[in-house]
Amino acid sequence: MEQFESLLTCCVCLDRYRNPKLLPCQHSFCMEPCMDGLVDYVRRQVKCPECRAEHRIPYQGVQGFPTNVTLQRFLELHVQISGELPDPTAGQVMERCNVCSEKAYCAPCAHCDKKVCDDCKSAHMEVLRREITRINNQIRRGVHRLQDILGIVERNTSNLQTNCAAVSGEVDEIHKRLAKALKDRTDFLRNEIDRYLATELRNLTHLKDNLELELSNIQSNCDVADKYMNDDVEWEDTELVDTKEIFLKTVEFLRNFDYEAGDYNRRIRFIMTHDPNQLVMHVASYGELNITNPAHTSGYGGSSLQPSQGLTRSKSDHRLATQFRQQEETKSYYDNDEPILGGRKFGERRPPPPEKPTREYGATDDYSGYESEHRPSRRFRSRFVRSHQQDNDSDTEQATRNIKSEHKEKEKEKVTDTEDATRGPLSGIFRLSDCPRVMQRMLDVDSGKKKEKKEPPPPPKPVQPTPPTQRRPPPARQQSEDDEISRLKRQNKATSSQEPERAAQRAVEEERNSITRKPPTPAREASSDGESDESLGTLQRNQRKNTTTATKTPVPTPRRPSATETPTSHRVPARAASTESSASTESSGSAVKHTGGDRTTPATTNGTVSGAQRIQSRFIGSQRPTPAPAPAEPAQEDSDSSSEEETDSSEESEEEPAPPRKPESQAMARTDIGPLLARSNNARTDAQDNKNKDSPAQPRYRTRPQPAEEETPRYGNSASSYSNRYGSKPKEEEPTSSFDDETKYPTARSRYLALKERRNRLARSKSSHSGFGAGDDDDQDEPVSPTTASPSAYLAARYGSGTGGSELSRSRSSHALKSRESSPERPVAGEKDGAALSSWARYLKSKYGSRGKDRDTSGTSSSASRRLSLGLPLRSANELASSDDDSKNAAGSPISPTAATAAVAGFAAAGSSPRSQYLQKRRLQFSVGSRGSEPGYFTWPRGIAVGPDNTMVVADSSNHRVQVFDSNGIFVKEFGQYGSSEGEFDCLAGVAVNRIGQYIIADRYNHRIQVFDPAGRFLRSFGNQGTGDGKFNYPWGITTDALGFIYVCDKENHRVQVFQSDGTFVGKFGSFGSKLGQLEHPHYIAVSNTNRVLVSDSNNHRIQVFDVNGRVLSSFGEEGSEDGQFKFPRGVAVDDQGYIVVADSGNNRIQIFHPDGSFLRAFGSWGSSDGEFKGLEGIAVMSNGNIIVCDRENHRVQVF
């Protein structure tokens, strides 16, 4: 075979003979180039290379030599036998290469667009290959971008899913809650109505019986008198006198008795706190999905989704590209679209020169475009700037294109079933390995059939330019492209050796008609557009949601406390709560919190559904005072049902009515008056427990002898409990109390008591309104108090009168109540109630970490109770009235009923005991520390707070630590050191202890707040320097309220910021200035338990009182050294009864104010002796009434 082969080999070119010419010497040589090269043109001879024989060249040249036909036959035979491919250049004619001018078989070169010889072409290909390698490297370097994006898209997808799942979960949750609330409420109301009916009926019948009895008595008396009171009968003088007296009494009775017809005509009414329509509307639209970026979210089950396109379609470029791509596809390839490779198939020859100008199908120079400096950029650009380009194209090239339409049409068919099928949807780049040519190349490489083929490693692209070099496909062979493709496919199938190939092939087959595949992001299929968009959107949405929540929270959150606390304040004496109730409340409370945090709407809905009252305070505001009590009415009825409670309470006359409350509180929790309510309720109940324990330990308040003493606590408690639980629920107690009381006490009195109670309750509820609901309404307090109070009072009166003989007094009392506003009353404080309440407060303090504010709450309640106790001795209507005015009266100010805010009323109730206590203040009890850095010594102590068990927590500012002392001033522990890391301080200023004993520190020079656990271990910090929300500029005083909200005096930003206990920014108020509501260097802050926020507006020399929403309630003090004036007041504290203690730094004295801000007393002066100060800082009040103050320049803490 080898010899055979060598016989077929031209000895000159060492290749297979090509057109062998036979020399006369019988040696054969290829005509070209071998024979050509042998020609001696000078001698016109040819010298045989084999035998050196010289032959004349025929006239026509070497072509004139005869062709060695035999050899040719052999060649053909050999080809058949060996399967060797035919000579590619067969039939070709040599031309001059357009590049090197050598004569050779020339072929068009896509690179230079000329006919060039193989050599030049391969050189060109070499250049191309290098360029491709270079570009490929660029691509490799850049491809991570797509990978990143892919990652993001995947993340977004999962985000989207979780987000949607979470939201729908929320919606479900809300739905459940709403349904439950609605049902509970409905049941509750029905029960109430039934109870109401029963009670009223009973009362009426009772009254009827009484009246009948009276009537018959009087009638018989009259008859007797008529009959026997004449001369006929002998009467003794005494008898006559008595008779007269009786008759006089009767007359008096008749005169005075005044049955208020209206009383029982009063019908129970069902009043919706909200316009039912509105409520329905609220419920109907109880939530909406807030999608930050509107668009078509296919999977998003939102109720109010707009189908606008924008949802997720950010304008990122690939998206644009997608859009354009879509446009392209719809437009088909005819017009102004510039497909990659100009629409040619990969590797396809460009059409003959005449077609050249086109850039579309078969555009010749597209190949070169692939690597020429300009073109590739265009190609890559296409992804990003396609639209632009399109325009250009269409403008400039439309005309040319139209001419070629038929050609294009033909092409198009092929396009659809080959590589276009696998185009990347975004860029229009298809997978090289998917195009038949590349497949073939790879196949070749792999199978090793063509050894000469050495492809550069980067698989797809470098391969592509090679074809011409290696394998010069003769035009003839290309005639049927489709055939070739199919053949290739078959081959591929057979081979299936290589993964990519197979994939490619599959792709070709399966996805022929789809558009999707694109190498860099295979995952992104057709749907990917939408999806990715969506997910992107989700991301954005999430972010935005966060922001929105952030922005929103300030609004709802401040409200939340209000909502929560409204009940709280009412519920003070709520009885020992059953565990279940607490549990349930807790859960509901937490739930609410959750939803509230997430969306505003749920909270709203909640409110709407659940607590009429709460809602009112929150949304309707106190401006509509009347509705408030009204809804309460039905609620009150349930109290009747709890008759057992009442009896209980009556029995245990003295102590707090612990047992009776229990069921109610449960009921509350159950009725779903509002999870918030419930929650607070829970808290209260806890408190109650404690109080019970504590109360005995509080002799101070108890000792006061009072006629009504025994009763008082009960009433007070019950009252407070009512009020705490439900601002306007006076009714429940009344019937019982009146019944019970009748036996023991004069009915009238009891009734008065009840009334008072009610009043108190009202007042308190009012105050709570003002405190919490204030955010929504401006003039909440003034109008509220009278109105709110009166109806409930009225109710109270009515119900109270249920007992038999008490009608007269009852009616009167009710009148009195009505007229109450105008009647000034200065009752003596019944301390007993105060005691009970204060004990509760004390509990609060000890448990929650006593801050002065805590007292306020108890103060309110105590005041209420005190008022009650006051009420006991009073019989006249007048006395009942004006509990609001108490404080003013106490302060000696004229009565201004309208002006008396509920809050003030609460404070006003402060009994004489605290007052007297404060009046006695002056003696230093003891002082702690002196300058130094050892434990128990201070260097410029600043903030101070009272922790659990009356521990004293001192911010030892320049020692950069917190020191804790017990109530006797014994050093307990310290923590912190200088620095800016976690748990380190830089001149800390304010300290606070929240209700779970965590220390909250204003780390002044680090401009942050740090939170430590009760053991002094660092928990978290938040904030940094700045003026934005959640940033600080020398934060100074700090405090927390019962709900754990953190209030920070952001001194250099002249504002107060409010945070959740976890550091989430909630709101802020105050700005630089001296107007009402503005602040200049606020230093210290305190929150009363009525949720009044007291800020020492230092450079304005005043104390400002805000509600928790940052609305100014009042302000007192101005610059000066008289009583009630300040010079740079710093520390401020409020006790549980609302008394305000101010460290009047510039005057070096401590001033004590009534809850309404009127001056009570002052003590202290400049100096370093006991009871003298040099530069006061923080101040706090212990639950036992001790005032502790940081005496900065004396480096000590003094206790009074």
């Binding site: 000895c11 000159v12 070119c13 060492l14 071998c34 090269g37 290379p49 090197c100 050599d119």
Partner: protein, 151 residues
């Protein structure tokens, strides 16, 4: 530069695959037309045992013109001068495109075994060879030992 003619490639491949005994020709890495050649001294010749280095260059119009070949190793031979140039007809006028690298090298090897002092290039050597063949052969052996065997 234009690509290598197919013939050169084929010749090179064949030289690698079927080397001629006693001859090795390796194309330079930098220039495929330049070959490093080593020819062993033929048996029964004064050059036996020596390894003679040559260089071979294929001109542009190869195979239409003869390759250029030159001895690098010094050799004592009447047809090879001090510069290593070779007096061989097929490298001159008798060149034929039908000849190849291997045939040329074989011819050179043959030339070593059959010096032709009648067509001298190195006249002194040729003279000695004609006058005193034995001494010439001794010289040749000496040179071979000296220049073609050390390395």
């Amino acid at each position: 530069m234009a690509a290598l003619p197919r013939r050169i490639i084929k010749e090179t491949q064949r030289l690698m695959q079927e080397p001629v005994p006693g001859i090795s020709a390796v194309p330079s890495e930098s220039n495929a037309r330049y070959f490093h050649v080593i020819v062993t001294g033929p048996e029964d010749s004064p050059f036996e045992g020596g390894l003679f280095k040559l260089e071979l260059f294929l001109p542009e119009d190869y195979p239409m013109s003869a390759p250029k070949v030159r001895f690098i190793t010094k050799i004592y031979h009447p047809n090879i001068d001090r510069l290593g140039r070779i007096c061989l007809d097929i490298l001159k006028d008798k060149w034929s495109p039908a000849l190849q690298i291997r045939t040329v090298l074989l011819s050179i090897q043959a030339l070593l075994s059959a010096p032709n002092p009648d067509d001298p290039l190195a006249n002194d050597v040729a003279e000695l060879w004609k006058v005193n063949e034995s001494e010439a052969i001794r010289n040749a052996k000496d040179w071979t030992r000296r220049y073609a065997m050390d390395n």
